[in-house]
Amino acid sequence: MTEPTVDAALALEYGLSEEEFVRACEALGRTPNFTELGVFSVMWSEHCSYKSSRVHLSRLPTTGARVIQGPGENAGVVDIGDGWTAVFKMESHNHPSFIEPFQGAATGVGGILRDVFTMGARPVALMDSLRMGAPDHPKTRGLLTGVVAGISAYGNAMGVPTVAGDLQFDSAYNGNILVNAFALGIAKKDKLFFGRASGIGNPILYVGARTGRDGIHGATMASAEFDDESDAKRPTVQVGDPFMQKLLLEACLEIFAADVLEGVQDMGAAGLTSSTVEMAGRAGTGVELDLDCIPRRAKKLAPYEILLSESQERMVMVARAGMEERVLEICRKWDLDACVIGRVTDTGRWVIKATPGYDPLSGDPAPHESAKQVFVDIPVSVLTDDAPKYNRPIADEPRALSKYPLDIASIAYDPRADLLEILASPNVGSRAWIWRQYDHIVRVGTAVRPGAADAAVIRVFCDDSMNGTTPSPREKWLALKSDCNARFCELDPRAGAAMAVAESCRNLACVGAEAIGLTDCLNFGSPKRPEIMAQFAAAIDGMRDACEALGVAIVSGNVSLYNETETPEGSRAILPTPMIGAVGLIEKPADVLTMGFKRVGDLVAILGPHGPGAMGGSEWVWTKTREVKGTPPSIDLQAEARLQRALISLARRGLLASAHDCSEGGLAVALAECSIAGGLGALVRIEEITAGPQAMFGEDPTRVIVSFLPSQLQLIERALADAKVPMRLIGSVVSESLAIEGGPTWTIHEMASAHARALEAVVG
């Protein structure tokens, strides 16, 4: 390929602003060549550099007694006791999934799994957090079907169960769906691996799939808004091969166990470039690579293409000198390509050599050393620590709530019909159509399956061998859930983000688990717009507030900006969606609670403060008007912390039969879900049910519905009084129907069938 002349205009086409181009020239003391421009383009992209978000991310709490590795590595690591750790992270694959839903979602799962096993962990669970456009938008059906099929294809073949997730629909995502994938693995505390190119002279190895032209400039694509030409970006989407990755996983775990590596990193966004630059950056070293020996599947690859390819299922390893043969031997066992591609240096520079025009696939003879040329020579720090950082302008107010007035009285309210309508809402009803397509039970650890409780519960095996050969390995029990009610974030980003953290942790408490760490995936619009940056900054503050109140840290995460679409009416941003993935630890299996009512005669109570019945941003309002408006709920984080502690304590004492939090659809939907899941109903008193929808469908946070044996009442009352958590007894469990005293009655059957058909309208 003939290389174009590099100047500011070309740089702009490659996503670098004029100031950034000048900065690049100054850092090099010359104008970058075309290959180097490509490197700057991806490394300084929002996706790789976090240039707009870093200044805000630093406000998040990232440390704690259990935190072994916070943000900055491939994944976060928390201590789960007895020398074992949980390794987890969540990441977006929004832009590729909108362009090509199956491959976009599949490679999203593949990428997050690599981030986790790169740390030395065996992946044991996946979650998927999806945001789709309006249920009746013409693209929604194909996008949802494709995304679910892609996650299913990749996760199932890898043998990692997808155990939880969440899904919300809103027209704000019509042109920008969200696909956030979470993975969790288990590793021994003293056998963690990090992405560091340490040890001058150590060999750098390439392991895994061959390099092709797929995904070139994926990171740059993910750092721009969509327009009418988005379909033309399909070639920037990578193609996944879960079988290749399964081999890569098993080979990596075997290589890790052989104890021959200094560092390892997967090739994700910006491929070979980003992985080797980051490894050198973390270790404070330099790297010299020879591209002539890169395994490849496409002919005539230029250095530019090799460096920027985002071909999947590839890893970079730094072996201890002399140990490379052991790595190659294990790769041969698994029929994987592997070779030495360079060395760690002490220069602090990232140097790329190649023989111009050399193509091993065309049968060219191996080039002579003297024929090699330097294609890239950039100081590592210029691409990492010294990359641009922006403190972008922030609007005074993220959104004026008054812009969204809500007159509840003007909306028709019929408690009986409304509950059935909300149960059948695609935002609330059964997700069985989705999770049945996921192998959610492989690895024989799924103790609480999707749909049975507020969070998934998995049993993990702490297996010293990492490959299943340790007899009767030690068992630990973890809970997982992802959450974010983006409607609340739209109406009040700070409170909304705090509530996302609170709800995800509350969901863990509802299965008897204590939150031990969080990961996030911050999905927002364009950072160049002050009102979007205001949302972002406020959301970070809200997350911090909640993390501090609940005593939990964010240990890993991902930022996805530019989730906007140009429309004839102007640029349309998504609802601000700071997705939270929460991980909890369960002391003993007997503590585990599920949501379904268990026995006729059990008492039913609401734990938590009695709120005003906030309707702003509620599912009831959305179901009736298809709009997000009104004043959202507010949250008392201290009350939330007391509730969660008390709930976990009651679970550990074995005093409760069921627990379920009130979220979308409020108290009425929560009671219906307890009834559907348990096949038993309840007879309850709800005051002021006739006054308006607030009592039934208001979405005040910090409320959990529990049921328990009447004989436990005194013990529970005493424990809650000590913990300063209010409780209201509202009724008892009965068979066959949910009934409100002096109000409507619903049979389990009619509620269950409404709930079961919720996604039918979307997927047909």
């Binding site: 079988f243 399964k246 192998d439 039970i441 690895r443 024989v444 049993r459 050969t469």
Partner: protein, 223 residues
């Protein structure tokens, strides 16, 4: 008693089988890599586990049947040794002609993972004393629709080789509701789509799969 779990590239329920055999049924069990050309001496039971052998990008199991270990498994079966193929393992056994018929794409064309019910319709080493019992077992497959020509189906029914039949509902469109079949000279080969190894501990929602483990344990001891 000795069992082996064969690991093909892409096997992913190999651990599930290991866990059930070794830690639940307490049978000495080891993994054997697909490139091995022989089984460890004294092997009583060979399990071909679930998964996506070689990615299953072609017909499921179509490439795994060429693995070196398959010849040894075939010999083991011909000598009357016990072979259990679960899910992808069942698919491999049909591709290797160790069991008749084929597993084709589910009629609804989706991968499906959920609990189903099967009735034991034929006794044998894996189902001794279980005739007519109904077991709750999970399925997790996209290609589980059992298909065979009329003659083969008639033979399976005549010889009472249909070990398991879906009851209440047929999740994949299998002919005659077939979920698992016996083969081998002494009914010593069993292939089934549901996962008994994932239903061996009450913590996982069902322990019905243990009944197969107890049966095969007794059968091994009886020889």
């Amino acid at each position: 008693m000795k069992a082996v779990v064969v690991q093909f590239p892409g096997s992913n329920a190999d651990w599930d089988a290991m866990r059930a055999l070794r830690d639940v049924a307490m049978i000495a069990t080891e993994f054997v890599f697909h490139k091995a050309s022989s089984l460890p001496s004294g092997t009583d039971l060979v399990v071909l586990p679930g998964g996506f052998s070689f990615g299953d990008y072609l017909r499921c199991g179509a490439i795994a049947r060429f693995s070196p270990i398959i010849a040894a498994v075939r010999q083991h079966a011909e000598r009357g040794g016990f072979v259990l193929g679960i899910c992808n393992g069942f698919q491999i056994l049909t591709e290797a002609n160790m069991l008749p018929g084929a597993l084709t794409r589910n009629t609804h064309l989706r991968f499906e993972c959920r609990d189903i019910h099967v009735r034991v319709d034929a006794e044998g080493p894996f189902t001794a004393g279980l005739a007519a019992s109904v077991l709750r077992l999970p399925i997790a497959h996209a290609e589980g629709r059992y298909h065979a020509d009329e003659e083969t189906l008639a033979m399976l029914e005549r010889e009472r080789r249909v070990a398991f039949r879906y009851v209440r509902d047929n999740p994949n469109g299998s002919l005659n509701d077939i979920a698992g079949i016996y083969g081998g000279p002494r009914r010593n080969v069993l292939g089934l789509m549901p996962h008994p190894e994932r239903a061996c501990e009450p913590a996982l929602g069902s322990a019905d799969g243990r009944q197969l483990l107890s049966s095969i344990t007794k059968s091994i001891l009886a020889r």
